[in-house]
Subunit: 117 residues, 2 copies
């Protein structure tokens, strides 16, 4: 992961609503969650949510697909792991054996009911 990618991912997560959205998507697992459901769960206006999705998507932290009239957003664990790897890598330069790499995996393989925070 490049430094600019890391900055983008950090910036994407460095905001209350977006961090909530991402955490919710992580808990929702790889199957993701429709935008409307996220909006009601976190009490964020739909248009504001779109704005945040754009930023998360720009940072590669989220994917979208259409399902009927719903947009299903899902966390990209690959990017999150790359970010964690980048951050730990920086801390361990010169002494890699002292550091434990971080791994981010979905909480559940099957979609599950998730409450807001």
């Amino acid at each position: 992961m490049e430094k600019s990618d890391a900055v983008a991912a950090l910036a994407a997560l460095a905001q209350d609503n977006r961090l909530d959205v991402f955490r919710l998507l992580v808990r929702a697992g790889p199957e993701g969650m429709p935008a409307g459901e996220i909006a009601t769960a976190l009490e964020i206006a739909p248009n504001t949510l779109t704005f945040h999705f754009d930023r998360l998507r720009g940072a590669g932290l989220v994917t979208v697909r259409r399902d009927g009239r719903s947009m299903i957003y899902a966390a990209r664990f690959e990017t999150m792991n790359a970010l964690l790897a980048y951050l730990t890598e920086n801390c361990c330069e010169g002494a890699p054996e002292a550091c434990a790499p971080a791994v981010c995996k979905p909480a559940r393989s099957k979609r599950a009911k998730v409450s807001a925070s």
Copy 2:
């Protein structure tokens, strides 16, 4: 670590110059580095650097002490580890056994020459 602390730390790291500063301080180890040395290493104006130090310090990622007319800044590994723990924790809810926690340690115990970038 609280969510607001995590957002603060993420925001502090989500900027090119600040990420560079923090990485440099991590490599410098617990003994830290004088502000002027950082300024020349990264080619950042001293007043601009002060601005970024304030933000890093506000997020608890950095400490300062005075040494003569120099200000010595040092990375706070404790906070960085708390951030990494917070981020991985979010990814592992419901399946903690699937996740490896991240640890951030100083690269060297003794102060060493460090180049920019």
